[in-house]
Symmetry: C2
Subunit: 504 residues, 2 copies
């Protein structure tokens, strides 16, 4: 008997709609009345908080200190770097007034500002102005600052987590004495993100460099981590930019070198955002809802007392409380286990399904039978939702860390296998076109992925393929083999291999 999965439509039936339904079923977020601005609901925010806390720890350990810079950027600041302003002008929210006034019984903007303010789409310019004050000598370098903040980039086609007008992120900004040191820093932070994605989110991503057309506005080099999600599209999961001296010149950030010369610093910036939550959903979740790797799950084990008769209540509640206390003493991945008891009254399996859809790794049911036998009925999120494992309390407590480790590794292995099986080395134009053309109109999701081809570095050709095939170079992978071969489009010798893909 095949049961109807909890999420409708399924991934195969309609991936974009499945994504929305997983978010709704797991109660992660919703659209607000302000176009493009989402409300991150408690379960979704708790996942973001897990990411934040761990990333913050890693960024601090890498030598960066947190600070906070203004939400507003004077228009004139944004204008200082020509490419930068061009890149962001079309998506800036602009503050023009600083009070409201009543006119004919209606409120209208009053008191215009002398200079309009832009709500930060990113903070290179305002942080650059501060760096210009803070940096005097080579002794002030390197300067490594990180900020957790909200930013606004006006979106006409928003999608929860992946593309919202307001989003939350961290943005790191550093300044260095030399180009080489700044480039190394940009790479170091990309690798830090890569490790975070791997260890916390069980998310393999290809570390690479963007082609000039896909660079961050104002950057000399943009490094990226490209993740492949279940509909074979690529999502940029993190970026790190080597900004050269562009923002240093725009903001006048100079230092006195050990030789007594005044020079411009070399800067970097790098960030990840709430987009990671969307990436996580699209990478791991299934037709029964959200799937959370244990390390990022706000709750790793939920205890579900099954009380059908009042006289059973005390014994079951006591068994739950005892188990919760025992589990709280144990740890996984260096942190105390995160355990919740869901004591709400519920008929039958409703609560169990709720936690399946929310992606909690382990569900532990305790009813009169379990209390009598000293056992537990355990549901794992990586197994079919109705499957139960019966274990003694002692055995479960002893093995729980191992089970979570196994699940975390299982999600990683599955994601790596998926990425590998949908990455193809392609040698001919025909094969390329076929790779990105659905073979079965009914199942458009079974084609595509990353197409790896030798590339001669031709920007016009890149643009032509983008227009005709709607696929783009996601990145030039950092880890390259020698002798890339011949570019199947230009027939020229490839400079390197690139990954093409459809992008979110």
């Amino acid at each position: 008997m095949t049961e109807r999965p909890a999420i409708s439509p399924t991934r195969q039936e309609d991936f974009p709609e499945w994504y929305q339904q997983v978010i709704a079923a797991a109660d992660l977020a919703e659209n607000s009345e302000v176009r493009g601005c989402m409300i991150i609901k408690p379960w979704g925010y708790a996942i973001w908080e897990r990411m934040q806390r761990e990333l913050d720890r890693r960024i601090k350990a890498a030598g960066h200190r947190n600070a906070y810079f203004p939400l507003f950027i004077p228009l004139s600041f944004l204008e200082k770097e020509a490419e930068h302003v061009e890149g962001f002008a079309k998506e800036c929210a602009v503050v023009t007034h600083h009070r409201l006034e009543a006119t004919e019984g209606r409120l209208v903007p009053g008191a215009p500002l002398a200079e309009p303010l832009v709500v930060r789409p990113t903070s290179e310019t305002i942080i650059g102005a501060a760096f210009a004050r803070w940096i005097q000598s080579y002794r002030d370098l390197p300067l490594r600052i990180n900020q957790w903040a909200n930013v606004v980039r006006w979106e006409l086609r928003p999608r929860l987590f992946l593309r919202t007008s307001e989003f939350l992120w961290q943005e790191g900004h550093t300044a260095h004495q030399t180009a080489a040191e700044a480039e190394a820093e940009a790479l170091r932070m990309l690798r830090l993100y890569e490790g975070f994605l791997r260890e916390m989110l069980a998310l393999p991503a290809i570390a690479g460099e963007k082609t000039p057309g896909e660079r961050f506005p104002g950057a000399v080099r943009t490094l990226t981590l490209e993740a492949l999600v279940q509909d074979r599209k690529a999502i940029q999961a993190g970026t790190s930019h080597f900004l050269g001296q562009n923002f240093a010149r725009a903001n006048g950030i100079t230092f006195l070198s050990p030789e007594g010369m005044r020079e411009h610093v070399w800067t970097t910036s790098w960030g990840v955002s709430t987009r990671l939550v969307g990436t996580l959903i699209m990478a791991h979740s299934d037709d029964n809802g959200l799937v959370l790797p244990p390390r990022v799950a706000p709750c790793q084990i939920v205890l579900l007392p099954l009380i059908r008769r009042e006289e059973e209540r005390t014994a079951i509640e006591e068994a739950c409380a005892r188990l919760a206390a025992e589990l709280a003493e144990r740890s996984y991945a260096g942190e105390p286990l995160r355990v919740e008891i869901d004591a709400r009254p519920s008929a039958g399996g409703a609560k169990n399904w709720e936690w399946v859809k929310k992606g909690v790794p382990l569900r532990v049911e305790i009813g009169p039978r379990e209390v009598a036998a000293g056992t537990l009925s355990i549901g794992r999120r990586d197994r079919p939702p109705r499957e139960r494992l019966s274990q003694s309390v002692r055995q479960f407590v002893a093995e729980v860390e191992g089970i979570l480790t196994q699940m975390q590794e299982g999600y990683w292995d599955r994601a790596v296998a998926f990425q590998k099986s949908h990455t193809r080395r392609i040698a001919s134009r025909e094969e390329f076109l076929e790779f990105f053309t659905p073979r079965d109109a009914e199942r458009p999701e079974i084609h595509g992925g990353f197409a790896e081809i030798p590339w001669s570095g031709d920007a016009a050709l890149e643009e032509k393929i983008r227009e005709e095939q709607k696929v783009t170079i996601r990145c030039i992978p950092l880890d390259q083999e020698p002798a890339p071969g011949t570019c199947p489009f230009s027939g020229k010798p490839g400079k390197y291999r690139v990954l093409f893909g459809k992008a979110y």
Copy 2:
């Protein structure tokens, strides 16, 4: 010999300027190019993070869950509650456009919004709209949500931390079935803040209720915590509002009661902000700079290697590393000790003074003499900056938790004594006027504080005193004795005792 203190002017010489100089000397924050918006520098932000982390823990333990709501609020939302919009209209930043366009080589706001958006000054209205969707039945209540966010209230006379156009805060929002339950929640959260201020910041504050004229716009009752700082002025350190059904009606937040009736919920909101950092500075710091109670100090112990000759380096650095490792194993107030080694090269006492000004509780110097003797030279921030205690390494490690406890308690005792000595029960009009009139024009800071008087509850009289004396009722303390006595201004029987003070 009296030494010139590190901060100039001193508190006595010019308190407002001393405050600015402490912030500069401890490198906590600075003004940005955007009027009223500050930059919180790493040391200042680290203090805020300590507050955040501990408060977040307490708020979660009290049953609230974090979420995130949009930065922007449609103008029409703000208009729903008449008193609310009136209270905030004069200080709203208004977004009117969503892109920039080039006109005659200059960027100007393009693409006007159909409806202007206000940058949130507080989030009752946008969160209320979400609550209206989320709450259907009494089973959905109570709903307890907290948000960490930035808010904007345009300031014409900004002052770092205390009054800035953009500030960081948490805002809690809850909905309940009954008025009594909501009122109890508002009080519970005020008491939570009170405990946080006491235990973490060593800050005594008077818990009380605001008079109607001082209420939050739209609130039925506003509860407050009023702290007295060293210039005898009061600072509102936290507030908690019982909002009645005002926002429930404005937003249509209703629930089906157990009896099957559709009713409006009762709501509360409560918050503390980066203003607490300013309050902390004004309450504890001295003429040598910032003073941090150990529990809120980002670094509790700084180790200062004193290397004057290269051949001493290895032994001193090893001694520092050993001590840091030993201290890292120990805890204070339930958390691992926060220890830093300041290994920067420095001539003489410059580094030591830097940490004095930054308020780090313990400075531990290790030079060749200490290494040879197995001792440490310890400077405490609650003792004169040149005073040193010599202890063996073993003794210091064994006693450090006790020393920090003693310092934390010492700051609390001092702040309580200060508050008590500047709170006076006043029975006559003359005494009241004298209390708030500087006796010595050269030393205006030696007068004033909290004047406690019986009060008949007359709003017109309150306004008159405010205009004539520039003092206001800070609060009606929650803890009242019976029989308040006669109001010295109206001659009527007092309903309760109130605290008058000058306010930030």
